[in-house]
């Protein structure tokens, strides 16, 4: 029985570990002092959002292949969870930015990428709400999802690299070691488990939302 939910317990434990030990682990001396710990949470949000939106993309593709309703349901709920992570990520980022750079928002490709991503998927939700027929809605939103995701990936991954310098870490040649490859070993002990924990938590929320949506539909039919 525990085989079906071992990963939920794992996510809880990993996140508990990240939230507590994250404040105890020794971090390298940098200009931003203790706020460096936000790394475990803010970047986790980003990875969670990215995973969820990729899942949504894959399920949109699967929907167009077989026109199976379940795939459409997973796609839209994944977008919802992705938006949740996106908002949390931007919120934690704003708090961090206010301390590090003096203002909650700066003009930077990575920040723009995150904001544009949120607007794209909010437009997805609006598109879905404007179509009445269930099958047409699923088809139209699947097409938009695929189209928008590819363009968003181009925007987020390629543009900042070629735009050159930016304040945000891990873009261009920035000296703050933030990406996992350059991450200080002591921080890595919390970073990797935290990432896995956030992604698992996201999957858990996704599963609950899918079940809720299915139940709601069954209720409405009776």
């Amino acid at each position: 029985m525990i085989k079906t939910y071992w990963w939920k317990i794992l996510s809880l434990l990993l996140l508990l570990y990240a939230v507590t030990y994250g404040f105890y682990v020794s971090i390298p001396e940098t200009m931003i002092l203790q706020t460096m710990r936000n790394l475990f949470y803010h970047v986790g949000m980003w990875f969670g959002m990215f995973t969820m939106l990729t899942v949504s993309f894959i399920y949109s593709l699967r929907y167009l292949k077989g026109f199976d309703e379940t795939n459409d349901r997973v796609a839209v709920e994944a977008v919802n969870v992705g938006l949740l992570f996106g908002f949390l990520g931007i919120f934690t980022g704003m708090i961090w930015a206010n301390f590090t750079w003096g203002s909650p928002w700066v003009k930077d490709p990575k920040l723009n990428g995150a904001a544009v991503g949120l607007v794209i998927y909010l437009a997805y939700i609006i598109l879905r709400s404007s179509v009445e027929d269930r099958h047409k809605r699923a088809k139209v939103s699947a097409v938009y999802n695929i189209f928008a995701f590819v363009l968003w990936i181009i925007f987020v991954l390629i543009l900042p690299r070629l735009a050159g310098d930016s304040l945000h870490p891990a873009t261009g040649d920035n000296s703050t070691p933030v990406m996992p490859m350059q991450l200080d070993p002591s921080m890595r002990t919390v970073f990797y488990p935290a990432m896995i924990g956030w992604i698992l938590l996201g999957t858990w929320i996704l599963q609950i939302r899918i079940r809720m949506s299915r139940l709601k539909e069954i209720l409405e039919e009776h």
Partner: protein, 220 residues
């Protein structure tokens, strides 16, 4: 081959339809002229090249969204069914993209001429600017044609098309602004080569996606 013949026929059909009625073209031209005139009146004194650049592309963006949204909304469902029976979806979407490209190319050149007339000529590297214009026309036309197809299947009103298109057009627009910005400021091509490469990638990706995805929209 069949696709090329279908394409040319549909493309010529779009042009012929437009020339017969001229409804869209006249409306868009008037829109273009009035927006450029409003910006001219709004600025007293000289403007920086950055302002020139952003104003130009914002105006072009709105003109594009207005013009291209009409391409799908104009035709009624009965005619759509007729097209469905006689032409392949790929030919239809490609013909619309190329027609809109032609439309955008003409509009952007006219916009440039009118803009230069009223707001002054700040272009230092005309060839680079023209490259940005061409790539921009292709990019805007393909992205907006696809979004117009999606929006026409939904609720068929203009605001939905605007909501859907603005975030997706943003990366394209930002790259275009960077390229044309450097065309305004300096004569060299050096910094813009990677950006032009990105523009080409975006254009190719969008057209391929439109080619693959449009048949799913068309089937209703």
């Amino acid at each position: 081959m069949l696709l090329r013949r279908e394409l040319t026929y549909l493309f010529l059909k779009e042009i012929r339809l437009e020339l017969k009625q001229r409804y869209v073209l006249n409306g868009i031209l008037l829109y273009l002229v009035s927006t450029v005139f409003v910006t001219y009146l709004a600025f007293t004194g000289t403007i920086t090249s950055e302002t020139w650049n952003s104003l130009f592309w914002i105006i072009l963006l709105f003109v594009a969204v207005n013009g291209i949204s009409k391409s799908f909304i104009q035709e009624n469902p009965a005619r759509h069914l007729y097209y469905y029976t006689i032409a392949s979806a790929e030919a239809i979407v490609l013909s619309k993209i190329f027609y809109n490209l032609l439309l955008m190319a003409i509009l952007s050149v006219l916009a440039l001429l009118f803009f230069v007339l009223l707001m002054g000529n700040m272009i230092q590297n005309p060839l680079l600017f023209l490259t940005a214009l061409i790539l921009g026309s292709l990019g805007l036309s393909s992205v907006l044609t696809m979004i117009a197809a999606i929006a026409s299947r939904a609720s068929n009103n203009f605001s939905l098309m605007a909501i859907l298109s603005f975030p997706i057009v943003l990366p394209l627009l930002m790259t275009l602004m960077k390229v044309s910005g450097s065309a305004l400021n300096s004569y060299s091509w050096s910094g813009s080569i990677p950006l032009i490469a990105i523009l080409l990638i975006i254009n190719v990706a969008v057209i391929m996606l439109a080619f693959l995805l449009f048949p799913y929209l068309w089937r209703d």
